[in-house]
Amino acid sequence: MNLKSKDLLGLKDISAEEIDYILETAKTMKYIITSNNKRTPHLQGKSIITLFYENSTRTRLSFELASKYMSASAANISASDSSVLKGETLIDTGRTIDRMGTDVIIIRHPMSGAPQLLAKHVKASVINAGDGMHEHPTQALLDMFTIKEKKGGIKGLKIAIIGDVYHSRVARSNIWGMQKLGAEVCVAGPATLLPPGIEKTGARVFSTVQEALIDADVVMGLRIQLERQKKGLFPTVREYSRFFGLDDKRLLFAKENALVIHPGPVNRGVELSSTVIDSDRSAIDEQVTNGVAVRMALLYLLTRRSGNENLN
């Protein structure tokens, strides 16, 4: 099987089979990360660029290590040191990178749709590492990988996503992906942070956390950007955590063995209580490892696709 598109721009337009295939491939990759010799030849001779227009530590490092564990040539470009500051357009920057023999461009951008724009103008595969409020497909893939690993599957699970859904590209990618794999997705958050029409995606919307949590198998907290408070979206962090924070007491509404995940970085005591973060039910540390595995799988599948076109 090969992925249909040269790019991974989001989970909205990808099939359940393709998602399964990426997650299955990631299992093998996880062996490599946990082994003593973290070096495979899967990406030997491939050139991979991360093009980040937004600050990021974990996603960027995760992609970089994934590339290096598989022997790719990898380089980074940041908006702060690129020609962006000199006024170069995204398309021109993309074309320049493309012409240097790049196989994969991994882009993070504050504006929704930037990876789509880039993908249309380059031969290289484009991976969306997060664009505005649109999608963050590799985060959703690692979330689903983690759930599959811990729960044995995704089909039939009830998954609650709690918090700032409005600004969350992680929530959007997960809503598409998890439902494709057969889960029931419930969302809850302050009314000012729920995007209009989100129920048309198939997700069920609740106005209280408790309702969304009832009998949930998986609970995902979303990061709340503290500066949203200044825009009048919620009154104080204190009030947010009182009504929407996930602590032991509130998690009693979920299933006893419910899994807790979070895309990180966590505001301790705001979205999740410290007790919950550090408890056995939390898979937050595991998610980080799985992120590298999923990204290795994706890089391998996309580059193999371009290299093997004649064979299939």
């Binding site: 357009t89 504006m111 929704s112 930037a114 724009l117 209009p196």
Partner: protein
């Protein structure tokens, strides 16, 4: 120089003529309208099977001159207008510098006289530099030749200043055109707020951003008893607010644009910046309400909001792409396809909304095809289908979401001041 237009179906809303007539044009004027004219010593236009209507009048366009000539200038803009069947157009003042002074209005009038292919009527600003802070010299603008005032592109945010603008403008009997947008509600929005903006992760502009401002301006017009003209109406609630105000006797007129009755927010899918426009494309329900508003005369005018932009301003991330689309060369086919052929507007009503009403609202003596009038005439084929090809546009800019659309209605002839500018669909 004489032109004889033979056997066309003349539709003139003002005189009520609606049938097959011959029209004789002499010395730039309409000399005679009748039947079975014989004249060998003239330019013969066979209009059999075609509709002959007054030249189209656009109450809302952007010619980008001065300041943004890389997008459009008065020459290219008026060529594009003629190609689309428009013989008179009113251009908005958001140029650089903004048309907020007598000098700028005179520049536009003079340049249109030397370079223009159609009649150009400048619109001046309401406030100095369109900053929304102090009134522009409205009296001087009027006497320099401005046909209306508007801060189009931006609302007059202060209700107090808008009230004063209406009162002050009424002294000079000049139409005030309001761009209705509550900029706080619109916030950083880049498309209609709803399901599409949610799944694309784009900030939304709620319909309420337009509607609250429409409501405010209706209240101010009612209170001051001064007419107001609402630009580019795009939502169902705006239509309803205006319908109610008209019933109460408020002096309000309004316009919509072809894209608001032919496209929805779904045109923005896949981050299509060509469909980015302000106000944004809305929903199916809004499109239906706009059509209903046109049908029951709540909406007086179909205006183009012709807004040319360079391709580099559209070939960028959606959030930073320019707002607007070129409009002259698609307006008539869109109206024919979406309004006339489905029976929402008769040809007579279309002429009312694209010729008569805009002329009356701007107080210009256009929009009528009658003996003694200047010969501004458009001849169209309602039954011919054509594919919109942006590369063939006469505008300098090609930013249209309608590229490749198959539409009914072609502009076969445009006659301006008794001169044939478009002949057999070709701009001369």
């Amino acid at each position: 120089m004489r032109i004889l237009i033979k056997n066309g179906h003349l539709v003139d809303a003002k005189t009520g003529r609606n049938g097959i007539f011959d029209i004789l044009v002499r010395n730039g004027k309409i000399a005679d309208i009748g039947n079975d004219f014989e004249d060998t010593n003239c330019d013969l236009v066979d209009a059999s099977g075609l509709y002959v209507i007054p030249g189209l009048v656009d109450a809302h366009c952007h010619l980008r001159d001065p300041g943004f000539e890389y997008k459009e200038d008065i020459e290219s803009g008026t060529r594009s207008a003629a190609k689309g069947g428009f013989t008179s157009i009113a251009c908005m003042p958001n140029t650089n510098p903004a048309a907020d002074s007598e000098a700028l209005i005179k520049y536009i009038i003079n340049k249109a006289r030397s370079d223009g292919f159609v009649n150009v009527y400048p619109i001046g600003t309401i406030t100095k530099g369109q900053k929304g802070e102090e009134l522009a010299e409205i009296g001087e603008l009027k006497f320099a030749g401005a046909v209306a005032i508007s801060d189009d592109g931006k609302p007059v945010k202060s209700s107090s200043l808008m009230k004063k603008a209406l009162q002050y403008a009424s002294m000079f009997d000049i139409t005030v055109i309001s761009h209705c947008e509550d900029v706080d509600l619109a916030d950083e929005g880049v498309m209609n707020e709803g399901y599409q903006s949610t799944i694309m992760g784009l900030k939304g502009i709620p319909a309420a951003a337009e509607e609250t401002m429409v409501a405010r301006d209706l209240i101010l017009a009612e209170y001051t008893k001064v007419p107001v003209h609402i630009a580019h109406v795009s939502t169902a609630v705006s239509v309803e607010l205006i319908r109610n105000a008209k019933k109460r006797g408020v002096k309000v007129t309004c316009e919509t644009c072809p894209h608001y009755f032919s496209l929805t927010e779904e045109a923005c899918a896949d981050f299509n910046t060509l469909a980015k426009v302000n106000p944004p494309l809305r929903t199916d329900a809004d499109v239906e309400a706009i059509k209903e508003g046109l049908k029951d005369d709540t909406i007086d005018i179909i205006a183009t909001d012709h807004a040319p932009h360079h391709k580099d301003e559209k070939n960028v991330e959606f959030a930073i792409a320019a707002n607007g689309m070129v409009g002259f060369e698609t307006a008539l086919p869109l109206a024919v396809t979406h309004l006339v052929r489905p029976g929402i507007l008769s040809m007579d009503r279309l002429v009312q909304k694209m010729c008569v009403n805009p002329s009356e609202i701007l107080s210009i003596s256009k929009g009528v095809l009658d003996v003694g009038r200047t010969a501004d005439i458009t001849i169209i084929d309602l039954d011919e289908e054509a594919i919109i090809e942006i590369d063939k546009f006469s505008s300098k800019s090609k930013n249209s979401p309608f590229n490749g659309h198959r539409l009914f209605g072609t502009v076969n002839y445009t006659i301006v001041d008794g001169k044939i500018v478009v002949r057999e669909k070709v701009l001369l």
